[in-house]
């Protein structure tokens, strides 16, 4: 696991959806269950991932398996970045 991706995602979520107060947010906590994120929030998160990591998120990617916790987002971003480098390489 790339810790910088993890940390960046975590920081973004805390900053934007928890108004800076997310010390108790665990990396595998479901955003949905915890009521942290709504549908507009998901799109903001996607916008952040695309800009920050240069990946392209398709509509089909908008599922809880990819986006519903810090650790899931980090894994998803890493997978996307690998795919991108494969295509580029």
């Amino acid at each position: 696991m790339d810790f910088s991706v993890n940390d960046d995602v975590r920081a973004f979520v805390i900053q934007n959806f928890m108004f800076g107060q997310g010390a108790q947010l665990t990396d595998d906590e479901s955003f949905l269950e915890a009521g942290i994120i709504d549908s507009t929030g998901v799109l903001e998160l996607v916008g952040f991932l695309e800009t920050k990591f240069g990946i392209v998120v398709a509509d089909d990617d908008l599922v809880p398996a990819n986006l519903d916790s810090v650790v899931r987002v980090a894994r998803f971003v890493e997978r996307k970045m690998k795919e991108r480098s494969r295509i580029a390489g």
Binding site: G20, S39, V63
Partner: protein
Amino acid sequence: MQVEQFLEESARRSPDKTALVCGGRRMTYAEIDTEANRMARGLIRAGVRRGDRVAICLENSTEAVVSIFATLKAGAVFMVVNPTTKADKLAFIANNSRATALVTDSRHRTVVNEIADCTPHTSVVVIAGRETEVNANGKHSLAFGDLIGPGEDGSKPANPSIDIDLAALIYTSGSTGTPKGVMLTHLNVVSAATSITTYLDSRADDVVLNVLPLSFDYGLYQVLMTFKVGATLILERSFTYPHAVLETLVAERATGFPIVPTISALLLQIDLGKYDLTSLRYITNTAAALPTTHIVELRARLPRVSLFSMYGLTECKRVSYLPPDQIDIRPASVGRGMPNEEVYIVDDQGNRLPSGVGELVIRGANVMKGYWELPEETARRLRPGPLPGEKVLYSGDVFRMDEEGYLYFVGRKDDIIKSRGEKVSPREVENVLYELSAVAEAAVVGVADDVLGQAVKAVITLRDGASLSEQDVLRHCSQRLENFMVPKVVEFRTTMPKTSTGKIDKKTLHMTAAG
């Protein structure tokens, strides 16, 4: 007719039909009816009596659905409370309604513990989920799973309620800043559900996909109306992951999809062409009017789907709907009164107007019984109707009515903000802002927003030498208010516009705070 009979009749007619698909579980009508019977018996045994209030503070879940019907079967009155409600407001609702029981889940255990000492009327706490231990200070604490377990008698308990008894209390924001409980009888709910299912032409082979919270009456009625016609409800937590919801819509061959403008905004960002939406018969919209651009685009992308624009308020559930064949002709209208209901506009003296601009008045069996223990506020909204003893509802909403009787929303008579279709009391938000010691003056206004209808905006001046960031304000608000009440924008000013009497001049603020 009683509301619980929606479930009981469907369970009798088609016991093995799938009634509810939620959280990976598929439940038949017979299963829900049995679980609700068991829970009703458990509630009665724990001391819930006819007419008692039961607060249900749960996410969209099978437990929430079962709890609603169990409460009714016990002859009691259900109150679905937004699961993002904070401890002090939940305590207020429990105390104001003198709720006998609170049904919630393990996520809310800390809240339950926090309010245990200050909610003396609430003697029963039911906890759904895995960890059901609560420190409920002498309260009767029950695990949801035990209540509906096979050890309990699954037959229907005796219930002497009649249709003029209360079925539900729905708390809504008032202009004073204190929430008011809208009293709805069984007759109110059955009448509204009958009118709506009539114009939607709801049928037993419908499959309705609901992503709206059950604490919002638009979401709640999806359960009630689906069960009334014996159809199937796909109950989702939210529209947070649109692709996942759309996949479910396709897989379940959903025929009905109730939305609000925030959802249509997302739908229009997605390539809908790759989903097989051929099963979809209708989409309904209410809460805020759909922006005309959304209507045009949705119609272009889903030409075979009937699109219903609607308008309502908790006090009578639904007011109007625009027949789908009119939507291309008058997209800005929210239509006319629904079946078995009369709507008209009046001038400031209460005289009925043939057309033009005035306050909307609603007459029908769907009109609420009043606000819980608030006779003065009730008298302001419910005024004498044409027949002896009859009450009609003065909505507080100003509409323009054209010559053909079609309605167009103009604004509110009071300063209540309507955001995402939920009422937000500026006073309630201002009270929370004043809790911040750095705040000298605070005023909350609604600003036009294409998607939300109105967005909540906070205008603040600070005490000399004090500092506060937008994020500080939003964090505080999110800890103290339900999600939909948290301001979308905060503006800091050095001075506040004042009236001649020295009060904050909201009118001027409205004009200068837009955008």
